[in-house]
Structure formats: C-alpha cells, structure tokens
Symmetry: C2
Subunit: 443 residues, 2 copies
C-alpha cells in the first residue's frame, strides 16, 4: 500500500506516566541532563520515526512535590538534539499568547537553519492561569481571544518566513552588493493583535516554513488547525470517536481550500509494552500503585470543577459535574475524560490510574504485536495518519517501542525502513511552501 | 603579577570590518553556516579566551545591499557552540525592551545548564526605531524608560534564577516526593514595568546566575552597569579616556556597595594583524577601499543628524552637528566618534574608514607585538581589565590573534595558558552568587 504511517516520539522527562520517576530505573534529575535527551533522540531516530516533540508551557505544570516538573526551554533543547541526530524532525511547543511573533518566528527559522530543515512548531495558546501570572496578567485571556491572537500571530509569522525570497542574497563581491532589496519583503503587518513592520533578520529557512503542528480540539481549535496545521495531535479514547474527529478535520481542511491529505492526524497513544500481556499489565499496575492519589484528586477536582471531598477513590464520578462550555482550556480533553469514566464505569481510583498514564490519551498495555495491531487498526480504519507515541517510562518505553513495535509495523509495510528525505516536511510527505511574494510575481 | 587579563572574542559574520565580506577569503553565506561559527568558537577556545560573544538586535542592522546583515538567534547559536566547545564562556545579547523576563531568564538558565555553567547575557535596551516597529511600536521608547524597564527586568530575572534553591529537588522516590516546596520561591514580583508571579520552570543553574554583561556608557547606562554587570564592554579611542571611564566605573560600583574588582572593564579593540607593519597597513587599506561610501554617508548622516549633502568625502566634518543630548541611542558612541574625527582631523572618507573597521572602537594595525603592546599598556595603566577582541576579518583575524598575539601575552605572564575553572564566572575570577533566599534564612 502507498499510504505510510507517521510516528512522532513525544519526549517527556522520564516518561508520560506521572509516577515513572519513582521507578528504580528512572533518573529524577533527567530533565536538565542533555545526555538523557540525546539518548532519547537517537533511539527515536534509530526507529526512523518522523519527528520528536517537546510539550511546553511558560510555568510549572504542577506541584513540584508530585513529580519532575521542570524543562529546559524547548527550542534550545531541540538545538542540542539537532546536533545529536541527522534526520529526525524536531518539534517544539511555543505559546502565541506569551511570545512576540518577531522573536518566535526568528527562533524557529534559526532552528530550521541549524537542523537543515527539521524544525516544527507546535502552536499552543496556553490555557493556564499560572502561565498568565508569569506575564503580568491576573487572569487567563479568554479562549476566543487567545485563538484570535494565535491566528494573527501565525499569519504574520508566515509573512516573516517569506520576507526573504530564497534568492535574496546575491553576494556580488565585485560590485559590493550583498542582498537584493527587491527580493526583501517587510511584512508591514497591522493585525488586530500584533503589528510587525520589518523583515526577519534570518534568511528564508530550508523548509520555507517550519512544520506547523496544532493540538486544539475545541471548535475554535479545530478551525485553527484546519487552516494552519500540517499535523494535528489529538486525544482520542475510542476508534469511533477518532474516526469522527479524523473525518471532521479532513472536511474542515477541505472547506478551507486545502488538500485534506496535507493535514496529518496523529492521536496520542501510551503503549505499555511487555513480552507477554501479563508483563505489560504488571508494569501498568506497578506504575498506578506509585501514584500519590492526593495530588491526582486535587488536579481532577480542578479539571472537573468538583469539590475534592466529592471525589471518593472507590466510587464513580458524581453525577453533577461541569459541562464543556464551563471550562476554559483543554475543553475537548475534559469531555474525553468524563465520557471515558462514564463509559468504562471507572472508579475515581481507576480514572486516576488512566489519567496518570495518559492524561486522557489512549493507553494500551500489551505485547508488541498487540500495540502494532491497535496502531494498524486505527490507521487503516480512517482514524489516524499516524500516532503521537507517549511512552509511559523513558528511555525504556521508547527503546522497546523502537526495537519491538516498529519492526512489526515495518514488516507489515506500514512504516519506512529508511528515511527517504532530509526535512521533517519530507518525512510527513508535505511540500515546501512557496514564497507568497514569488507566487504573486512581486520582485 | 597576580592580576590576569581577560579576553572576549566578539564574533560577527565574516568580520567586524563592514567590507570584510568582499574579500576573496570570505564566505558571504557564513551567517547561517553553523560550521563557520563552530570553527570560530574552537579557535577562540584554542586561545584560552575567557568567552565568545554575539551582538544582536531583533531586526535588520542595515540595508541588506551593504553587507551581510542576518543572524541566527544568539541563544540558539550559542547552544550549538556549547556543543562544539568545552570551556569557553558563551555570551549572547538579548534585549530587555523586546522580551518577557520569564521567557528570557529561562532561556539563559537553560543555556547555562546545557553548557555546564558557561552562559552570559549581554543586557541591552535596543536603541533603534527599526526594532521598535517589529514589536508593534511606532517610536523607540525613551532612553530613561528603556533603562528603568531593564532595571526591573534584571531584578526579576535574578529572583527567577533564585526561585529554586540549589537543593530543591529531593528526589525521594520512597515517599513519592520529588521537589521540596519550602525551597521553591515564586517571585510574586510587581515592578513598575514587569510582573512575574511564579517560580521558573528550570532548576537553579550551574552558575547560580549567568554572567551579566552590559555596554551602556551614558549616565543611565553606567549606573545600570555599575549596579548589575559582571563585565562591561566599552568603546574607547584613547588611553586617557579609557582610564577615566575605568576609574569612573570602579567608583560607581563601589558606591553601589560592590567590590570594584568584580566589575571587569573590557574596551573593544579591532586588531589588523600583519607579519610586518606594512602588511597590516595594506590589509587595512584594502578593506577601506572596499567600503561603498554611499551607505556609510547615509549612516553617518543619521548618526550625526547632518544632511548627507553636508558630508563631503574629502573634507572634515562640518562645524555644526548635534550634541549628545539630542541623540537617543548610543549616546557615548556619538561623542567618541565626533571627538575622534576632530582630534585626528579626519576627512569624512577617513572617518568612514575608521567606522567601517571598528564602528568607533579602537583600531590598531600592526605586528602581533604591536597589538600585544597596546593591550599590555592599557591593561597595566588602569584602562582595562581585558579586551573585547573584534577581528576585522573572520576567521583569519581571530586565527592570527590566537596564534600570534595570545602567545606574546602568555609569555609576558598576562594571560592564562590553560583554563583553571569550568564556568565563565571562573574564567573572569567571579564568585557564584549566593541564593537570596538562602542568605536570608528563608527555608
């Protein structure tokens, strides 16, 4: 078959399971250890994965008592990883709410030059009050405002990436002319949220524009992704829901005049891998046992707008909880979690285990074949173009995914056995964007 | 003698002379070539120089026709260079006017972790209208306002760097406690310009605080540097002026209660090095011949507030030009340039040559011994603790400085023959700052 699966390695400290750091094998200081991250990047590249990815927000994620919750700034860490790898894509999260477009567009253009065309930007609007308070705000800006600013921000970022044509540097030593001003296009952008007058001070980058990734799943988020994103990370618990999301995103992209094939849908998957089902289940149980429930109860209480005392560990969720329109950030995540709890009749303790592992993402424990089967089923049934792989424990969970699951997908002809291209756009089968100023004939 | 010289390598494209790119040896695409910069960094480290340094502003420096005028974002480029070197300090310029403190303090803390304690921040307020217009402003904010914000910005940055005590991560796997909240100190800073509530999401960095560098020379700039800077870059044309500046800065530092020895004064020097004086003079003349005067006239006109038609190439500057208080940015640079032109009775063409080479910095053409003599004289006569070395052509000018001038300084016992410490603070003989929250006994 022609259609190929895409795999992104979501790197996160010593693993996505919140208690992973308590395992004997885990280094609790790994977050500031670049050797830890270089190793992860090389493992993902050994598995020929399309890209690796770092989530981010400008603030602490959670109480520092609970688990490792610090992070080197992602564009710097990916610059380190660019030097440790040769082919794999490098996707950093950055917020449009708490950055200035000139600075951020420049950082991504720089990363793309440094990595030879491997930079990607996961565009987020950052939905926490904690981050807002690190930038002089008392309140989180509203959902609509954040997305409207993000739209303006991405628009001017694209103008900045096009502000140098590919052939702007003429380097005419004889006549003393370095750059051709007629090929330089200052944006002079005056949007509703951001104004940027001048051209970027970095020439057009190898990919033209870095790969753009988005993970919003609300109405605003979906439209934003359908307009701008090359790849979409999403949280899906069931095949049926994933199929509906997939179809919806492709239709929205088409409605914006885009080829739906150029928007890659990547649900998250948290694979707990064992040589036997029992071994995988045992690791899952051990991880869940290591969760401290008091933190999880507090977080769940905030997320669901339920008083902590109404969440009883051995009972199901109470009947009366908030509805999606009452929450400000992570709207669809809220719904996924509540529906999962109801559908599977999970106790609060059971829900905490599931969230501790995947924060709402699909969790699958099993043999490599079982993991590969789920991936294959979703990929062939129109639910995914690939997966955002979130190992519960790092590095061991990524090593076993690459060494044990990837070969099964390769044997099935679903996944590459060698990189064909050089850029992350190549890996995802996406064209290099034309420069808007060359298209319109402005020279 | 005990007192040791400090040498910083100021890296800039293919050299500090504006026409360097037109030489046969120069690669006009070097600015986006990380191999060019890795080579420069390794050469500087071979010379045991204290640090290397990248200037920056968020916008184009000049007309792209004139010379190479693009730059990868400095904190990313220094991250690359951290991986290419082991000991040398890494100083990036970043603007307090066009950044948010949480983001920037985090990037420098990250660079310090990544480099094992080698990060430095050259704090600038960015005095160009072009940059202002890239951040939604129509006008450059006033000098006083920019410095007042810078002050607030540095204050909260220090709080952020201290927001984790060195021993905040307790990593108690047994009891499931990763960090100790009593050792975390959210700034809750509400300054006149910036507000930051939460702790940084990066643990305290190897140096405690990155090395802080400053180059303002106006009254506001000098006070700012005397309060905050570990090292001061300065523009000085004569030994007398340099001695006066040196004495003034040490006195100001003392007046702020600091040990004057902890503020290192580093004038710029542009060394054109030849095996003979004639060879050095010939390279200087060749570089000056390659300057296109029309760009230089336009820049000089803007800098001096004189109409271009009043600047005649073969005459001296006109009598009536602006005074320092009529210029907004680079106040002292303005005075240095005007005084130099008057003192040396330079024609406009001669002034253009001097500015093309050093933009107002001390330029010295000669043999390695002559260069070493000037450095020695200024160092021993109380005019400098070291130099900011600005080779006119790169890499060749840095190679000859390291291979031919540094050994002379080493033979004279002025400069190290091996690195003694690991961090850039070690190289400059500066202590690691204590954490303010430990000092005051808050636990």
């Amino acid at each position: 078959m022609n259609r190929k699966l895409h795999l992104n390695a979501f790197l996160s400290s010593v693993g996505h399971h919140e208690a992973a750091w308590r395992l004997d094998e885990s280094d609790p200081f790994a977050d500031t250890d670049i050797e830890h991250y270089k190793h992860l990047a090389r493992v993902a590249e050994r598995g020929k994965m399309d890209s690796l990815f770092l989530a981010d927000q400008p603030g602490l994620w959670t109480d520092i008592g609970r688990r490792p919750t610090c992070a080197l700034e992602p564009t710097l860490l990916l610059t380190v990883l660019a030097g440790a790898t040769e082919r794999i894509g490098l996707i950093a999260t950055a917020s449009t709410t708490y950055n200035e477009p000139f600075n951020l567009a420049r950082r991504f253009a720089s990363l793309d030059h440094i990595s030879g065309g491997r930079a990607g930007w996961n565009i987020v609007t950052t939905a926490t009050v904690g981050a807002a308070r690190n930038f002089g705000l008392d309140e989180l800006p509203g959902h609509r405002v954040r997305y409207a600013r993000a739209d303006d921000f991405v628009e001017v970022s694209r103008k900045l990436w096009d502000s140098w044509q590919d052939d702007t540097i003429v380097a005419d030593k004889e006549n003393g002319v370095w750059g051709d001003n007629s090929r330089l296009h200052p944006p002079e952008h005056e949007g509703p949220y951001v104004k940027v007058a001048g051209a970027l001070n970095v020439p057009r980058c190898p990919q033209g524009h870095p790969l753009l990734v988005q993970a919003g799943s609300s109405e605003d988020g979906r439209d934003f992704a359908a307009r701008h994103a090359d790849a979409v990370f999403t949280v899906q618990q069931t095949l049926t829901d994933a199929q509906a999301f997939y179809a919806d995103m492709k239709a929205r992209a088409a409605a914006f005049g885009r080829d739906p094939d150029t928007v890659k849908i990547l649900p998250g998957i948290v694979p707990t891998i064992g040589r036997t089902q029992a071994e995988a289940d045992a690791l899952d149980a051990e991880l869940d046992r290591l969760i401290r429930p008091e933190y999880a109860i507090e977080q769940l209480s905030g997320m669901l707008k339920v008083a902590p005392e109404d969440l009883r560990l051995d009972e199901e969720l109470p009947d009366h909880i908030a509805t999606e329109d009452q929450v400000e950030g992570g709207k669809s995540r809220f719904t996924v979690i509540v529906e999962m709890a109801r559908r599977e009749k999970l106790t609060v303790r059971g829900l905490i285990g599931r969230l501790g592992g995947g924060r709402g993402h699909l969790t699958v424990a099993g043999t490599p074949t079982r993991i590969a089967d789920v991936i294959t089923e979703w990929f062939t049934a129109g639910a995914a173009d690939g997966f955002n792989v979130m190992p519960p424990v790092l590095p061991s969970g990524l090593e076993s995914f690459v060494d044990d699951v990837v070969p099964v997908l390769q044997q099935r002809g679903l996944f590459r056995t060698e990189y064909a291209g050089r850029t992350v756009r190549d890996h995802y089968g996406l064209a290099r964007p034309a420069n808007r100023y060359e298209l319109s004939g402005i020279r």
